[in-house]
Amino acid sequence: MSTTTELSETRDPRGAALQRELDGTLTFLPAKGSEASRDCSILRSFPWSMPYQYISIRDKDGAELHLIPDLASAPDTLREIVESELSTQELIPLIRKIHHVDDTFEVVVWRVDTDSGPVEFQTRHDEDIRSLDGNRIVFRDHQGMLFEIPNLDQLDPDSRLYVEERLG
């Protein structure tokens, strides 16, 4: 149905598909009949609790075109496009070690090693540090950058103490 240059195209069992255009954008091809949507985007509905379920495909104005209930059961090619797009638009460095924390003046300054490299970030409020199930800790710094400790118990004791002191 589409005559645009196709790098890869795939359809899930119900027929909906995604394709990557040469200009880097994504095009959504709905199950049947209706028109293809250029320049669409992919969002997770439950980024923390169910990252691989309910993946939302949206048109360029943000209206939902399609909801993938479970990425694991989607066809391989669709899953690959979705995964590659999500990985290029997501950055959540995993914290390996906390070197120093300074909270002299309300703002807390963290110096940490992450899998993306050493970085310094700053949190402002208690709500900026969120603890999730399974000892997962998520930081949102003042500019909205995200950092994660996948499992607090696996961090070295000094780093752990830094976090525990600032957790509820």
């Binding site: 638009q89 970085v119 310094e120 509820g168």
Partner: protein, 754 residues
């Protein structure tokens, strides 16, 4: 480099282009032009932090990797290029394509978002050949977004409340500044200080007198010295009396001085607060501002009245004890002091641990109270969903957390004193072992020994005090800083030095390519231009989030525009006297705010001198008179937080009466979306009709009647002015946004109509 990475930890904010990168870019961009925009691509496609600069020079986008001189590339932009931003979760990218083919993508984190958004605008301008955004006519100096709060010295984020970086500002300086506030109360402060020092010294006297009592009277068992004994007792009595007097003076003078300083700070901060622009209030939660003016100044009172003086007294006591000891028996003094360093170390660790515990318990405590402030206001929802048990168990578990933490805390501090006692008593035994034989050999007296034993106990209170000194100073410095920051926040919206006089505004409002952004990244209004004639009524419509409220806010100059200008009667609003201008602009808000006080006071708010006839006339015009007089207390009815509850329609009419009485030249009307019954609705409409007569009105309109009453309608969409015409014209323009909006609305109304 302008912003060197701090010890390898990526902290760069990228607001300055390093000179060497600038030079490289200029040389490779051809023509030797200066860069127009730049951004730092701070992360690679593989999620590794990196530093690649993108510099726009002329129509070339130069890519510079400072680590690799050979890595300079240049992408030329022309009509066939497209530059776009793909926003992601944590990682966005600038996508550059040419002839429908992807050329390259540059990744960046949220840190660099503002720069990239600028770069993208500049690149697009280069591609389309439009003038570069920043150099548009009418723009003033670049407005620095208030959010860019990074200290240029230490390259770190400054706290929300801070205007100068507290990390770079020394604690000592803040405390000195605070102490400076004591200047007007020098005498009282001096009396208090002297009394406090004397008090500490007087503490040393009883042990000395006891020594004499033992050595001179009791030990010799000499009845002839009975007179001396009474003299010593008399001296003890005098000391006790003197201490009472000193304590009284110390507390009285310093408490009062502290109170006065706190009052001075409070009033200065509150006075300044009211001059600050709305953007200041938007960024700071109300609770935080309230706590700064009430809680922080109170904490400073505590510090001045007690904390500061306790530090002084501790020092005096410690020095005094040492002097007395070494004076009477140096060797015994050395021996006695041996356990002291151990005690000090124990005390130090104790305070550090206590601090940690306090921190934790405080957090748990606030979590517990958070459940209260969550559930109690929402009690109706809790009941409706029968979630009482859930809320109770949630609270119980949080309360249990507090309990556990408190148990740990008490365990900690209750362990401390027994340990200190053990140490001292063991030390005492050692001293006994040493001193016993020497007392018998009369090297020194029993009295001296007893004196030493009691002096040594006077050490620990002060040592503990000094152990907490750092924290005390820290807390005071933080509180002081928070108050000083309000005082020091520069006014961003202010009257220029030579304002254009406008005692009576005609009411012409002109927008000249006005753009506005709250944060510098997302534009809220883009290039809006229009002209409103004096006396004209404009209805402002558009989907939610289209910028309607922002537009009226900048007319009142609650914020200054980012680009372009707003003219009232042909004069830039920034050249008008702020007070004079605002007093001629009236506002009726969607959710009218009534202050606690009488209805009379609320109607005459801002018009203290209005006479009663005018007030009643305004109330009648606003259709408020009838229901107000119907209240048992009439115009004297108390409203506001603890007063009579008024219905939405009633509040609205009171606020309309307030605006009518104020008789503004320009009226801003933010119509309520909530629907009221038809009769009330008609009365409000009637009131509004009275209100808009003879003044320029900009109304954010929802009701059909208001829309039809307007001379012209202004349709906003995504911050742009898309239509500006009369109601009839807009309705007939079937493809226009307004016609579409209108259609959905009437459809909705027909669904809900009964």
């Amino acid at each position: 480099m302008a912003n060197p990475p701090t010890d390898g930890f990526y902290s760069e904010q990228g607001f300055e282009l390093p000179p060497d990168v600038k030079l490289l870019a200029r040389n490779s961009g051809g023509n030797g032009d200066d860069p127009t925009a730049y951004a730092l691509s701070d992360v690679t496609a593989n999620d590794v932090f990196a530093r690649t600069w993108l510099v726009l020079v002329g129509s070339n986008l130069v890519v510079v990797d400072p680590g690799d001189a050979a890595g300079i590339r240049s992408l030329s932009l022309d009509v066939e290029s497209t530059v776009s931003i793909v926003e992601g979760r944590g990682k966005s990218r600038l996508r550059i394509a040419r002839q429908g083919k992807l050329e390259e993508e540059f990744h960046y984190t949220r840190r660099q978002a503002r720069r990239f958004s600028e770069l993208e605008q500049y690149c697009s301008a280069v591609i389309t050949g439009e003038p570069l955004p920043r150099f548009q006519s009418g723009s003033r100096e670049e407005v620095v977004p208030a959010d860019e709060r990074i200290c240029r010295k230490c390259n770190q984020l400054m706290p929300e409340w801070a205007d100068s970086c507290p990390r770079c500002l020394q604690k000592r300086k803040i405390i000195l500044r605070l102490v400076g506030y004591a200047k007007p109360y020098k005498t009282s402060a001096a009396i208090g200080m002297v009394a406090a020092s004397l008090l500490s010294l007087l503490m040393l006297v009883p042990p000395v007198l006891t020594k004499h009592l033992i050595d001179d009277v009791l030990a010799p068992l000499d009845f002839s010295r009975l007179g001396w004994m009474y003299a010593l007792l008399g001296m003890l009595a005098a000391v006790i009396l003197a201490r009472v007097v000193c304590t009284h003076f110390r507390l009285k003078y310093l408490a009062v001085v502290g109170e006065r300083i706190a009052h001075d700070l409070r009033t200065e901060a509150y006075g300044h607060l009211h001059k600050l622009s709305l953007s200041f209030f938007n960024k700071k939660p109300t609770g935080q501002l309230i706590s700064r003016i009430s809680h922080d100044t109170d904490r400073l009172w505590d510090f001045i009245a007690f904390g500061l003086i306790e530090i002084l007294m501790s020092l005096v006591t410690i020095i005094g004890v040492c002097v007395v000891m070494f004076w009477t028996a140096p060797t015994l003094a050395v021996l006695t002091l041996i356990p002291i360093p151990i005690g000090i170390i124990m005390t130090y660790y104790h305070t550090v641990r206590m601090r940690r515990f306090f921190h934790r318990i405080w957090r748990k405590w606030s979590r517990m109270t958070a459940t209260l402030s969550d559930a109690i206001p929402g009690v109706r929802v809790v009941k409706a969903f029968t979630q009482e048990d859930r809320e109770i168990s949630k609270f119980n578990s949080r309360s249990k957390d507090v309990l556990d933490e408190a148990v740990r805390l008490h365990h900690e501090w209750t362990g401390y004193w027994p340990k200190i006692t053990l140490l001292l008593q063991m030390g005492n035994l050692v001293i006994w072992a040493y001193a016993g034989p020497r007392i018998l050999q009369q090297e020194f007296t029993l009295g001296t020994f007893v004196m030493f034993s009691s002096l040594i106990w006077m050490f620990y209170g002060p040592v503990e005090q000094l152990g907490m000194m750092n924290r005390l100073l820290q807390r005071a410095a933080t509180s002081a800083q928070r108050v000083f920051e309000i005082i020091d926040t520069p006014l961003t919206i202010y009257t220029p030095t030579n304002p254009v006089a406008a005692p009576k505004i005609e009411g012409r409002i002109t927008f000249e390519s006005v753009s506005f952004s709250y944060d510098g990244v997302k534009p809220t209004l883009t290039d809006v231009s229009f002209d409103v004639k004096p006396g004209e009524m404009i209805g402002l419509v558009g989907p939610s989030g289209s910028g309607k409220t922002t537009l009226v806010n900048i007319i009142c100059r609650f914020y200054d525009v980012s680009r372009g200008r707003i003219l009232i009667d042909g004069v830039d609003v920034r050249d008008l006297d702020l007070h004079e201008m605002r007093s001629q602009v009236g506002m009726v808000l969607q959710e009218p705010y009534l202050f606690s006080g009488t209805i009379l006071a609320n109607i005459s708010y801002g018009n203290d001198k209005a006479d009663t006839d005018d007030i009643i006339r305004a109330a009648k015009a606003a259709h408020a008179h009838d229901f107000v007089v119907g209240f048992p207390d009439g115009y004297d009815t108390m409203v506001g937080e603890r007063g009579q509850t008024l219905s939405g329609g009633e509040r609205q009419r009171i606020s309309i009466a307030r605006a009518i009485l104020n008789n503004p030249r320009i009226l801003i009307l933010d119509e309520a979306t909530s629907s009221v019954d038809t009769e009330t609705e008609m009365k409000i409409q009637e009131a509004i009709r009275h209100l808009v007569k003879g003044r320029t009105t900009v109304a954010i309109a929802h009701r059909l009647s208001t829309l039809q009453a307007a001379d012209r309608l202004m349709v906003l969409e995504k911050g742009k002015l898309v239509q500006l015409d009369t109601y009839d014209e807009l309705i007939n323009d079937k493809d226009g946004l307004y016609a579409r909006l209108h259609k959905t609305q009437t459809e909705l109304q027909s669904i809900f109509a009964v």
